[in-house]
Structure formats: C-alpha cells, structure tokens
C-alpha cells in the first residue's frame, strides 16, 4: 500500500469528511478532516487498515486548536498525519481512548496543556501538572487578539 492508494481508499470511503490532502514525499502525507468524522476514520485505520497510532500533537493557532493525529503504517513505513481544526472558544472532540488505550495519556496531556475537552474520555484527570501549574491554567495556549 503506498500513499496514493491509501488516499484513494480513504477518499472513496469518507468522501464528505476529507477536505484536503497533502503529499510531502512517497512516505509522508497529511489528510485534513472534519472533527466529527474522527471516530469513523480512526476506526477504519485502526481496525481494518492496520495502522498504528503513534501520538497526537496539538497547537493553538489563529485558526483555533489544531490537532494532528500521527499514524504509522509499519509494513511500508508510511507516516500519516490526520489534521483537525477545533473551535478556539470551546475546543472539543470525541476521545479515541474508548477505541484503543494508546490514546489515553496523550488526550489527558493535551487537555492539561491546551484545555481541549475530549468527550467521553474514561478518566480525563491530570497527568503531569499536579503542583507544576495552577488549575485552570493552560500553559501552551497563546494570545491571539
């Protein structure tokens, strides 16, 4: 499976949910999706596609809270970034932790650092911040005025 064939399959299955794709080289690509389609696409990648979830990373930009979910297709060494943009006032998205454990800690971390709400997460408690910064402070947020 190479980059083009994966993009083709995903576009066929999730036509309405994918609004952008970017291929950087023959083993690296990004797909921009609608946040509400995350669960469906992640389910396909994890259960049928044979992709491994690496990690997720969030960034606060002028567009809102952008999350990249990084996936790896080990058999051919592809790395795919699934990109979503969340609302800047009330950033929230469905949690992936009920589908697989690998997302549990990173969603807690993103919640602590950025204040993103992961809906239906089994235990959205503090991971790192106890004593390191005050409650309600999201240290990785930026000021855009």
């Amino acid at each position: 499976m190479n980059v083009e064939s994966i993009i083709k399959i995903l576009k066929e299955k999730f036509t309405a949910d994918i609004y952008g794709t970017a291929i950087r080289n023959e083993r690296r690509f990004t797909i921009d999706i609608d946040p509400c389609s995350l669960i469906r696409i992640a389910e396909y990648l994890f259960k049928e596609g044979g992709f491994r979830f690496i990690i997720a990373s969030a960034l606060h930009t002028s567009k809102g809270f952008e999350i990249y979910y990084h996936w790896c297709f080990d058999q051919t060494g592809l790395i795919m970034n699934l990109h979503v943009i969340l609302d800047s006032k009330e950033p929230e998205i469905e949690s992936l932790s009920n589908m697989f454990e690998a997302a549990n800690w990173i969603e807690r971390e993103m919640h602590e650092l950025f204040g993103i709400n992961f809906l239906n997460h089994p235990n959205l408690e503090k991971l790192l911040s106890e004593g390191n910064w005050a409650d309600g402070v999201y240290p990785y947020r930026k000021d855009f005025d």
């Binding site: 106890e130 004593g131 390191n132 910064w133 240290p139």
Partner: protein, 94 residues
C-alpha cells in the same frame, strides 16, 4: 560512602537533575527529614544552575535556591571521576 534506604540514616544528600515545581516541596521535605548535620551535593549542570532547562516553564530554581548546598559538581553529565573527586574534596574539607 554507602547508599542507604532512608534519608534518616544519611549523612550526605546527593541531588542531581533539575527540580521542577512538583519536586520542590518534596526536596524540602527530604532535607528536613535528614538528621543534621547533613552535607548536600548538587550534581550536574541541572543541579548547579538548572542547565539547559533553566528557562523552562516548570523550573523551580537550582538546588541552592531551595536548600543549602555544600558542594557543586558541574558537568553534563559529570564524569564518574569528577563525581568521586568532588565527594572526596567535600569529605576532606569536613
């Protein structure tokens, strides 16, 4: 020098690594539990000044801002010879 299981049996406290806000209270607690006199050694660049992590948002100050330090062993990381030399110097001084 022998490694002991409890701070209450210790004469020397070796502190290495940078101290973040979460560690700070525990470091003070450990220092207070140590029977005085106790010698404190700050090991490594992180212990001495915070090193490369000093500008981080969770940094709680180098060790000597939290508890009194008797010896500094710089290095990132300090070589084993440096650590031994530093401890020997400290023990000879006392």
């Amino acid at each position: 020098m022998l490694l002991v299981g409890s701070i209450r049996h210790a004469d020397v406290l070796l502190v290495n690594g940078s101290i973040n806000k979460r560690d700070k209270d525990r470091l003070i607690e450990i220092y207070e539990q140590a029977p005085k006199p106790v010698l404190v050694v700050a090991i490594g660049a992180c212990g001495c000044t915070g090193g490369i992590f000093a500008e981080g948002n969770t940094f709680a100050g180098p060790v000597d801002k939290i508890i009194p330090v008797d010896a500094y062993i710089p290095g990132c990381p300090p070589k084993p010879e440096a650590i031994i030399a530093g401890i020997v110097k400290l023990l000879n001084k006392n």
